[in-house]
Amino acid sequence: AEQRFLKTFDAIEKNYQNVFSKLFENGEAHVELEDPSLPLESPIRILARPGGKKLLSVAQLSGGERALTAISLLFAIYLVKPSPFCILDEVDAPLDDINLVRFLQLIKGFAKDTQFIVITHNKLTMEASDILYGVTMENPGVSKVVSVRFGGGNGDGDNN
């Protein structure tokens, strides 16, 4: 079990750097075991350095930087052990426009092999979606779903 964990860990570590630099130009990120002699118990440390900045602790990163640091790790894990689908609930909330676009490009890259369901309030994310479901509560406390399509046609609900 220890061997398998270490093998997976190393694969994730390799991918982490790749994915992180897609979101942070010239950035650098690593995961490491605080105690390599106890792989099944040791806490896992994250080291992340946005491009052009010095390496500081993850706590000192900004809200948006933290979101992208965590998202990069998740996608690094998907590369090692692909998940058939991925559901993201408003992970784009703390991102500025530029980071949002990079995040959406990352998703589109993965979307060839992974099915995404993305809950969002963000118009750019809506535009990146292939289909859109609008959820409403016209009757208080009762949810209702309508499908919303882009490019003409079914304009129920939002006209986004």
């Binding site: 997976t8 994250i46 965590a70 790790l73 052990k81 609930d89 995404f116 609008g134 959820v135 779903v145």
Partner: protein, 165 residues
Amino acid sequence: MLLSRLELTGFKSFPERTVLEFNGGITGVVGPNGCGKSNILDSIRWVLGEQRTSVLRSAKMEEVIFSGTKTLKPTGMAEVNLIIKNNRGVLPIEYDNIVITRRLFRSGESEYYLNKNRCRLKDIMELFFDTGMGPHAYSVIQQGMIDSILSDKTEDRRSLFEEAA
């Protein structure tokens, strides 16, 4: 493996049977605050076997059953059906389409079905073992999970790695 269709009846804020069809690409879910988007995510976790009520934002499992409004009575049961296309043979089962059904009654009784055959929760969870789709899936990222992944105070980061291994 592809999520093909999701049906909710009596689950959280969905008293009436609600159907969502998915294709292979990116499906966006939008709507105002409190309209039910995260509840849809909860229903997917739940039908895949999630037993931790806190992950479902509930204190007890009964709280996933539609609890009524001023004009509608609470329902006696919550039911979620998830239809999955086994298009790459990822799942260890011979069918092309797999229907997973989970029901919870107010009495506390639960029922589970695989392709309409009664089974145990264990059977559903074993089906997804090793696909990353289990209830401990790292493939479902809820509101607030970013912080718990980065926090040194929770076990979430480690469980992501263990799930993948």
